[in-house]
């Protein structure tokens, strides 16, 4: 075949770098304008698309009842990609050109950390709805930021409480994507579990790259280590690929599979109508079938009616975000004075689809992090939400106050950064 030169090798390497860049994004005065930042493309696109639909549902519900203080809500959408630099650009344009009253959204934590800086500089309130890095509410906290979905600390704390009572879970193995989210989700859990159990042991860990297509070599290594529990911090398609590839090795008969932050997302249950094993221990930030309240049933049914599909967990976060802004404006009596809004929003209570009977989500002034109940379940046969044939069940529910970092812990984390 043709002989070719170093020039081609150079072009090839440039191209490789290029390709890797893809892998990983009425008049204004009367309306309350929310600038929404959601990715519509790439692997996180599903979360963005679901978030936009849910935000529209919330907006229509509020506007149908006459809006807030006589003003209608308007949301403008723009593909923010999952990319920090691009998200900053969109957020700045929203503020200077579209004169938005609020910023809302962002799926990627890296992008969230970038947008919170824009919010701080411009004193425009930013309501985070899906990104989960604890840093935004602790060491990178700024007063104009609020988050209305659970962060990774809360899922990890609930997971540690769940694992604490499993006396037979002694040998742990962890596998997760090799970036901030994958590591942080695990480290918080392992630190919290270590405080309560002295007899647990880490027998191995592996950190494949995010979106790794082939986990087979990892699976044989995990089997060889013979753990009691396999913790995974994968999300989305990576969980699907891992499970598919582990099935023929009968991995799920040999150890418990535990994914407590993103594993219980409906997109996973839906992706494997055949073959998803029973007894996987999973959770997510919102569940279609828990809590079984009228509000949650209505939310899921309305989403299905509007889009023809069931929502992934990001949707409920965006729905909460719009209601949070509306309620903040109603109580502050303004959408223009950021400091009055902060004062109102800091103490807001909001009944959300993911709140069980007798509990109402509320904002904590110290970190502007919403405080919510977390439920962890196991996969059980359930055909009420097709095409999924397994849903979560056998729930264990963890009280909101038991899974948040204490005020002292937050202050210590912030102090450590300032030094």
């Amino acid at each position: 075949m043709r002989k070719q030169g170093r020039k081609w090798q150079a072009i090839l390497v440039i191209g490789l770098v290029l390709v890797m860049g893809l892998a990983e994004v009425a008049s204004a005065a009367e309306k309350i304008v929310i600038g929404a930042l959601y990715p519509m493309t790439g692997r996180a696109g599903r979360y963005g698309i679901d978030s936009v639909s849910a935000a529209e549902i919330a907006m229509n519900e509020i506007n149908a009842k006459g809006g807030v203080n006589g003003r209608m809500i308007d949301i403008i959408f723009n593909d923010s990609k999952a990319n920090p630099a691009y998200s900053i650009k969109v957020a700045k344009r929203y503020i200077t050109e579209d004169k938005v009253n609020f910023l809302m959204g962002v799926v990627s934590s890296a992008a969230g950390l970038a947008v919170t800086e824009v919010s701080k500089e411009n004193k425009v309130i930013f309501v985070g709805t899906d990104h989960a890095s604890t840093a935004l509410t602790t060491e990178k906290f700024q007063p104009y930021y609020f988050r209305v979905s659970n962060n990774t600390y809360q899922s990890a704390a609930a997971a540690a409480l769940y694992a604490k009572d499993k006396k037979e879970w002694k040998k742990y193995y962890v596998i997760g994507p090799d970036y901030e989210y994958g590591h942080r989700t695990w480290e918080d859990f392992w630190m919290l579990l270590g405080r309560q159990r002295k007899d647990v042991q880490l027998v191995g860990q592996a950190w494949p790259k995010l979106f790794e297509p082939d986990y087979t070599p990892y699976i044989t290594a995990i089997l060889n280590a013979k753990p009691d529990v396999l913790v995974t911090t994968f999300w989305g398609g990576d969980t699907v690929a891992f499970i598919k590839q582990a099935l023929p090795y009968k991995l799920f008969d040999k150890m418990k599979f535990y994914n407590y932050d993103g594993g219980g997302n409906y997109e996973l249950l839906e992706a494997m109508p055949k073959g998803l094993p029973k007894g996987l221990v999973l959770s997510a930030r919102h569940h279609l079938n828990w809590p079984d309240t009228k509000q949650n049933r209505d939310f899921v049914a309305n989403f299905k009616a509007k889009t023809g599909r069931y929502p992934s967990y990001a949707a409920e976060g965006a729905y909460a975000g719009v209601y949070f802004i509306a309620e903040g404006v109603r109580q502050a009596g303004t959408a223009e004075d950021p400091d009055k809004l902060v004062a109102a929003m800091e103490n807001l209570k909001l009944k959300l689809p993911e709140d069980p009977e007798g509990f109402t989500s509320y904002m904590r002034p110290i970190d502007h992090q919403i405080v919510q109940v977390q439920a962890i379940g196991e996969t059980v046969p359930n055909k009420k939400f097709p095409p999924a044939t397994m849903m979560l069940g056998n729930w264990k529910v963890f009280k909101a106050e038991e899974i948040i970092p204490s005020v002292a812990e937050i202050e210590a984390a912030r102090k450590a950064v300032k030094k």
Binding site: L12, V19, D178, P213, D214, N224, P248
Partner: protein, 294 residues
């Protein structure tokens, strides 16, 4: 650590290698004959996976017929891309730059088209029932399906070699590869051959995607991971060298598999480290003759 584990790891590395090889061999074939570096090659893997989903899971066709149809479909899409787009930039001054832009933009286009047609949720297809379980000999257990993938990969490697060496079509390929004008003046239908090569190569990418659909994530963007792996493979093996793609794929598959076994925290480093070493000490690739560079 016992022997059976080493064998199991060897086999899982071999499976990864074969999936990579099917994509990388097409990439290297296109480069060697058509002289185009097709960055969009991973997107034909993606198309193969979605075509297989459409034919097998939606229309209910037999699995193997579906895989074959998916490969043919990806090949047809590749020929369309070659005929309507790439053909316009052959021989243009600064062709390499146009190639990067054009093929790179096809990554984005194909991703978006896939998303428009099939949406963003993860798709699944089932393996044939008989292949869904494990296969055991002695202490070693592995998925039966993986075994089939290995056999298919080796069969394709042998078939391609035979086709290039022994058939009239293969002779034409080699002629075009060494001198396109000369081949043309000797009566080889060059444009047709180039289209066919492009179709064959993209069909191999599609075959890889279709075979991977039951065990991997079928989602827009899945082509990106594959093209990155294949680029590393062809850099290691030598661009344009068919056996280089096989050797490169085997090296990457096994280095990664054993890296995971011994140093799992560092696993993703290994394939890049091997590529860096090859670029430093043998920038023309392992299987290219020295002095071929220049």
């Amino acid at each position: 650590m016992d022997g059976s584990l080493l064998v199991a790891q060897l086999i899982s590395g071999l499976t990864s290698a074969m999936t990579l090889f099917l994509v990388a061999s097409g990439l290297t074939l296109i480069f060697g004959v058509v002289n185009v570096f097709n960055f969009a090659h991973g997107s034909f893997y993606l198309l193969g996976a979605y075509f297989a989903y459409q034919v097998v899971a939606v229309s209910g066709v037999n699995f193997w017929a579906g895989v074959l149809l998916a490969a043919l479909g990806a090949g047809a899409a590749g020929m369309l891309m070659e005929y309507f787009f790439l053909r316009r930039i052959y021989g243009r001054a600064g062709e390499a730059g146009f190639q990067i832009l054009l093929t790179y933009s096809f990554i984005l286009i194909i991703d978006d088209v896939v998303k428009m047609i099939w949406g963003t949720d993860y798709k699944s297809i089932s393996k044939p029932e008989i292949l869904s379980g494990p296969f055991s000999f002695g202490e070693v257990t592995m998925p039966r399906y993986d075994l089939v993938v290995i056999v298919i990969g080796l069969a394709v490697a042998f078939g391609m070699w035979a086709a290039i060496k022994k058939t009239r079509f293969g002779r034409n390929l080699r002629a075009i590869s060494s001198n396109r004008e000369m081949a043309s003046s000797l009566g080889v239908n060059v444009p047709l051959t180039l289209s066919l090569v492009f179709g064959l190569a993209t069909a191999l990418g599609g075959l890889s995607g279709a075979l991977s659909a039951p065990v991997r994530t079928v989602t827009p963007g899945a082509g990106i991971e594959v093209i990155i792996g294949s680029l590393i493979v062809v850099v290691i093996g030598g661009l344009g060298n068919f056996w280089g793609a096989l050797v490169g794929a085997l090296v990457i598959g096994e280095v990664t598999a054993f890296g995971i076994l011994f140093l799992p925290q560092w696993a993703i480093l290994f394939s890049y480290a091997v590529m860096a070493l090859v670029l430093i000490f043998r920038p023309e690739g392992l299987l290219m003759k020295r002095g071929a560079v220049g």
